[in-house]
């Protein structure tokens, strides 16, 4: 309140603009993130969690795919309703995580706005698809979504590679989208390729217990659900962003 009054000329970036920006980021991230989190959780519960619970039957030994002299096992997941508390946890964590994605996405919108690019629902959709590529598709190329019971390299190594891949891909996409000229494009491609040229950490043996059909379906479904939720988040966040402007 005090400092604008002592000024003779209006400031180039008045405090109210920053308040509006914060409100715009907060509204986009919170509302779009909340809705995308609920959407993602519902899709996961419908399409992904049953496969995960089915895989746990193999993990626990209740079902076996290869036994002496036999190949093959029954298909079918335990009913979802047997573990409602567990699914509430999935809903809650999705809401937290997707609001987090929403804040990062809206921070990106704000950076773009400073460069004169105004985000609306359709541009938001593109941003959301970029988020899907950076946070789901690119890391899955090296470390596919894991069915429970999968044996994998050391968790710390995988998390490090995962984070490196996400950051490199996001930066690479940003260079390609906002850079000017072929050098930026080439730099973007190099950044996106680098984690895969280095290679994700993997074991030198296979230990999987569950049927391969289940693992394949799980990976594809996890990516599909993620794509749908990212598209939803981008569309909703972009729409709210343009309304709050």
């Amino acid at each position: 309140m005090t400092w604008p009054m002592i000024r003779a000329t209006p400031p180039a970036f008045p405090a109210t603009d920053r308040t509006i920006m914060l409100k715009q980021i907060g509204a986009s991230a919170l509302f779009a993130g909340l809705a995308a989190g609920v959407f993602a959780a519902l899709l996961q519960l419908w399409f992904v969690v049953p496969l995960l619970m089915e895989a746990e039957l193999y993990e626990s030994g209740a079902r076996a795919h290869f036994t002496d002299g036999h190949i093959g096992s029954d298909a079918g997941a335990p009913p979802l309703g047997d573990a409602m508390g567990r699914h509430l946890g999935t809903l809650a964590i999705n809401i937290v995580g997707w609001i987090g994605f929403g804040f990062v996405l809206a921070a990106g919108f704000a950076l773009a706005a400073r460069r004169g690019v105004e985000v609306d629902a359709r541009r938001g959709l593109l941003w959301g698809l970029g988020g899907f590529v950076a946070l789901s598709l690119a890391p899955a190329f090296g470390l596919p979504p894991e069915l429970p019971g999968t044996f994998a390299a050391e968790i710390g190594e995988r998390q490090t590679w995962w984070a490196f891949c996400v950051i490199a891909t996001a930066l690479g996409l940003a260079l390609m989208a906002f850079g000017r000229g072929p050098a930026w494009l080439a730099g973007g491609v190099a950044l996106i390729a680098a984690p895969h040229l280095i290679g994700a950490p993997h074991l030198d043996r296979y230990f999987g217990s569950a049927a391969p059909e289940l693992a394949a379906m799980f990976s594809a479904r996890a990516l599909g659900v993620s794509a749908a939720a990212w598209a939803f988040l981008g569309l909703a966040a972009g729409w709210i962003w343009s309304r709050e402007a």
Binding site: R7, T9, P11, A12, F13, P14, D17, R18, M21, L22, I25, G26, A29, A40, A41, Q44, V48, V49, L52, R86, H87, G89, T90, A92, I93, N94, V96, G97, I99, G100, F101, G102, F103, V104, L105, A106, A107, A110, L111, R114, S136, P139, A140, L143, P144, P145, E146, L147, P148, A152, I155, R158, Q159, W162, A222, L223, V225, S226
Partner: protein, 56 residues
């Protein structure tokens, strides 16, 4: 001169606002995707697997 100073401090605090939003978002993502604090791993187990985060 004065306007320039004010303008750059305005730009700075805009960038600070954006950085705050990004760091806050990354904190939520870390909690949902990576944290093993308390019972976080168990509660987050299914959504981590389903989202493709390295889980355990």
């Amino acid at each position: 001169m004065t306007t320039k100073t004010i303008a750059s401090s305005g730009t700075l605090s805009e960038i600070a606002t954006i950085a705050f939003a990004a760091v806050f978002g990354l904190g939520l993502i870390f909690a949902a995707g990576f944290s093993h604090a308390g019972g976080m791993h168990d509660v987050a187990h299914d959504s981590r697997h389903a989202t493709g985060f390295p889980c355990h």
